[in-house]
């Protein structure tokens, strides 16, 4: 829970910035999921995950990102991941997930 307590969520029109501020792992997923759902319902179409401060994403976390992607894809929106650490970028690339959503490196 602790990890996602620092989450920041800001919105400008259809663009939503999400900054979990901590690792995206099983323990905080339900909270995050609960916060993301209404964002899309409210018309958010471009969700930008800022991974600053995120060092780890577990399978459940990955599942959440994919689910977000899937939800957005259903309404013509898209998911973007920015500020990924080198390790995480490699992860997305090696799993070919970067073919589904845009991932960019920190800095």
């Amino acid at each position: 829970v602790e990890e996602i307590e620092m989450m920041e969520l800001s919105r400008e029109g259809i663009r939503v910035n999400v900054k979990p501020g901590g690792n995206i792992v099983a323990s905080g997923i339900n909270d995050l999921r609960a916060k993301l759902k209404p964002v899309i319902d409210d018309g958010g179409r471009e969700i930008i995950f800022d991974l600053e401060g995120v060092t780890m994403i577990d399978s459940i976390g990955l599942g959440l990102l994919i689910a977000t992607h899937n939800s957005l894809a259903g309404v013509g929106g898209k998911l973007k991941i920015v500020n990924a650490s080198k390790d995480l970028l490699d992860l997305f690339r090696n799993m070919r997930l970067d073919q589904h959503f845009e991932v960019s490196l920190a800095g």
């Binding site: 099983a26 997923i29 339900n30 999921r33 993301l36 759902k37 899309i40 780890m56 994403i57 577990d58 399978s59 459940i60 990955l62 599942g63 959440l64 994919i66 689910a67 977000t68 992607h69 899937n70 939800s71 259903g74 390790d87 995480l88 490699d90 992860l91 090696n94 799993m95 070919r96 997930l97 589904h100």
Partner: protein, 1082 residues
Amino acid sequence: LIRLPHSKKMLEEKNMGNTDDEILRMFIEESREHLADIENDLLVIEEGGADIDDDLVNKVFRAAHSLKGGAGFFHLVNIKDLAHKIENVLDMIRSRELVPNPEVINILLIAFDKLKELVNNVTESNNIDISEFIVSLTGLSSSYLPKEEKESIKKTLDIRLNGKTVMKVPEFDIAHARKRGDYIYIVQYDLIHDVQRVGKTPLDIIRNMLETGTILECLVDISAVGTLEDEPSNQIPFYVLFATIIEPDIIGSLFELDQERIQVFSGDGKTQKQPEVTGGSTMSVNTMEPIFSQHSVIVPEDNVPAHAGSERGKPQQQAGTSIQHQKAPAQQGASSGPPDASLRVNVHLLDSLMNLAGELVLSRNQLLEAVSHNDRRALRASGQRINLVTSELQEAIMLTRMQPIGNIFNKFPRVVRDLTKDLGKEVRLEMDGKEVELDKTIVEGLSDPLTHLVRNAVDHGIETQEVRVKAGKDPTGTIRLKAYHEAGQVNIEIQDEGAGIDPGKIAATAVSRGLISHDQVKAMSDKERIALILLPGLSTAEKVTDLSGRGVGMDVVKTNLDKLGGQVDIESDMGRGTRFKIKLPLTLAIIPSLLVSVNGERFAVPQVNVDELIRVAASQVDERIEKVGDAQVLILRGKLIPIVRLADCMGIQRTFEDPISGEKRPDRRVQAAGRRSRKAPLFEDPSRLPEEEKKDGRPDGNERRSGPDRRYHANSDLSIVVVTAGAFQYGLVVEALHDNIEIVVKPLGRHLKHLKQYAGATIMGDGRVALILDVAGLAQVIGLSSLAGSSRAVELGKKAQQEKSQDIHSFLLFRNGPDEQCAVPLDLVERVEQVKASAIEQVGGRRVMRYRGESMPLLALKDVAMVQDLPDQDDLIVIVFNLSGKAIGLLATPPVDTIETRTAMDESTLKQKGIMGSCIIDNRTTLIVDIFDLIESLHPGWFKGRDRRDLKKNNSHAILLAEDSDFFRSQVKRFLEEGGNNVIAAEDGAAAWNLLQEKGDEVKLVVTDVEMPNLDGYGLARNIKGNERFSHLPVIALTSLAGDEDLAKGKAAGFDEYLIKLDKEKLQETVSVFFQHSHERK
């Protein structure tokens, strides 16, 4: 072939929890083996250019590939990455996308070098920076990436799973992987069950895979995840098409997945269930046990050291076969620390060893049986049998240590290539006899010296192309490396057909460096002059290239070879080339040696060091043995060979056999003759000794010599072993010579290790221990040296250099004022007394104190010189001098100290009355007190009375003194004058020579320093001895140089006596002896 079972074994052992260290060690060993030949293979590839030898490229490729696989397994990221990049480039070469031109090969060579470094440094490898290499390799592959690849990427293969296509993969990738010899698997993960539930993250599994292989393609089944609306999915399928060298039967343990989730991709778009491996992996461990046999080349039975007798000359035959010895890890638990701590041995050799061990056991049983029955015949039989088995066993075991010299030779093509590239020369390297085998230790020790010699041949030997063309030679130079057996030894030749070595140049350099003298050079043959390059500190390259000046010099080559018991012979033909011939023993563990003894104590001298044995009959001692300075030399075919008594070196009581009674008696003679003796007092017929000793205790050598020789007896002959330590020969005088035997070298214990004179010890047949002499070490210990006595020559050279500018001064340090450090030459000081200020009396305006029942006048520096007052304190010291027979004291303050210093004296700045000058001692300016001046100022006439008296006595004696240092000149002058002589002083040899011309008739003796400007002592002596008018004058050299070389050189120049600076008594005594002689002569 090799890598698969090993990788498998590694994996299994890892999973079975075996020590990682052991597997890591195997990996390192295996990697080294893979890397061993790469260099030469790459060079051959380079030579072939566009004409690519697939097999060869594949071989190199596989090496890189298996390194990559293993490294990944151990998380050696850098090794893995580097190997991977290398692999890419090689792959392009193989697919003819890249022509292996010199640049490409260069990058590969350097990269492999780095890889080697990483492998040799496994624990550190992850911290070593390899980015530079990665960049250049990546640059290579990307710049050459052709369109072809893009085309082949277009062709894709469908990967179908459970009837539906899950992935499309470029055919190219699959083909690639197969070419590498990889297996391709389709792995189905569920990121929730297989990853999350077992406490892992996706990153963990990705990393795991990347470390052991390549992810060709993968897919996360995102449709299975659902949306945010759906319930969080409880499965995230992840399919991976994975290429790796890991075999199907153990792949499961890598992924920690059920076998059924891993399928082998057959390549036709379908997959097959992974074949059930019978018994699973545990079973295969058991079947793996004879790993050796899997990749051991079969050596024909008859080539293995056979049962038959142990004929000599066998090594060649075996050498031929044993390169094929395919190797298996040795059983010793040697640590992975130092390189090559373990050894691979042919299985057949092990078998035959086992066989022999069995025989030995049988023989032992026989022996025990024979002993218990006291059966002499059976004893003899088993003795013979054990003898036979032992020598076979010895030979077989030695074979296990034998390594082909090719191990070293193989790196030379690269060395030569790199060097020639840098130097812009063309050199062809021919190698012969790679299969010749030597003991492992020797092979290892040879690497550095041989490399140096090869580098030298390229760098200094072979000329540049222009020069060669001008000289009418083939522009491409040839260097030949050759190894062959000869007379139970291995010879290695390094021959270049370059410019040759100029003996004159070498000699001139040696002289200019002060290593030898002109006279010595004159007496040398060209070959001896060339051998001078083995002296330390002698480089003939006019300009030192960065290639040559890399640390090891020729002297190191020599030292290294000495250590291996090797000998170097250099032949050089100006304009035609040079040949270095190195002779080496096959092994160091067992060496043929000569046994000698001194007073019943036996020593072994390695046969390689023995040049000849000489018996000097007692009647010939006079003619054959001469004394040069303090050294004895044997005259052998016109050469002077220094000789020493082994007993003296070892501190053993010498004995001789009394020729009459036949009993052993101690020989008590130690240098009985005076220093002047030109004869050899040490080597007199000892049989004369007892009576002589009775007669006058300490007989004078000269006298006795003059009489006719009396009795000779065979027992008083001298047995001399002429030994050679590198290029330097000397004679060891021993009491008895014994057998030549093969001895087993045992290292000395820790407490004796530091004794350089011994190479080890051995146990003799009778169970006693004999020490093995280290001939070179012994020479060093007893201070024997010659031209080639490397370290000593350097030492002397350096010393001589220093001595030129500075002499040694011995001083007594004291204080005048509290911070006024003063010094007075120590030779003058008689003693130092502590005195209370109250004990000093003032009588008649003079200070005196009572000293040995007399009133001794006391001086203070302040009386004459502008210095501080003595502090007003009770504790003072008095430095007592005894000059002209009377004691006189100098008042001073503590602390006092004595010091030997080489600091140059400043004879001007602080010079004043009573002060000779100053110098820096212990970082303090120190005033040097001129005690004579001081006394003369205060007590004029102190020296006069005596002078007058002495002058009368030695009226006709004038001594010509040549000395450049003012300090020493005034000191020596005083000493001589004190002895009642007239002294004519000159400040160098040239001035002395002029003075001699002027006042030649007065001069009766010449005392000269050796190192002087304008004309040195040698020159002066030569002038004097070469001039009819003066040749009768005795010349005494006075110097702080007193090595054997100096003595020899001085003798050649004509010094009658050589005295060490600065021994007052000795000087005075010697001078008076010479005067007496000249009187007697008259």
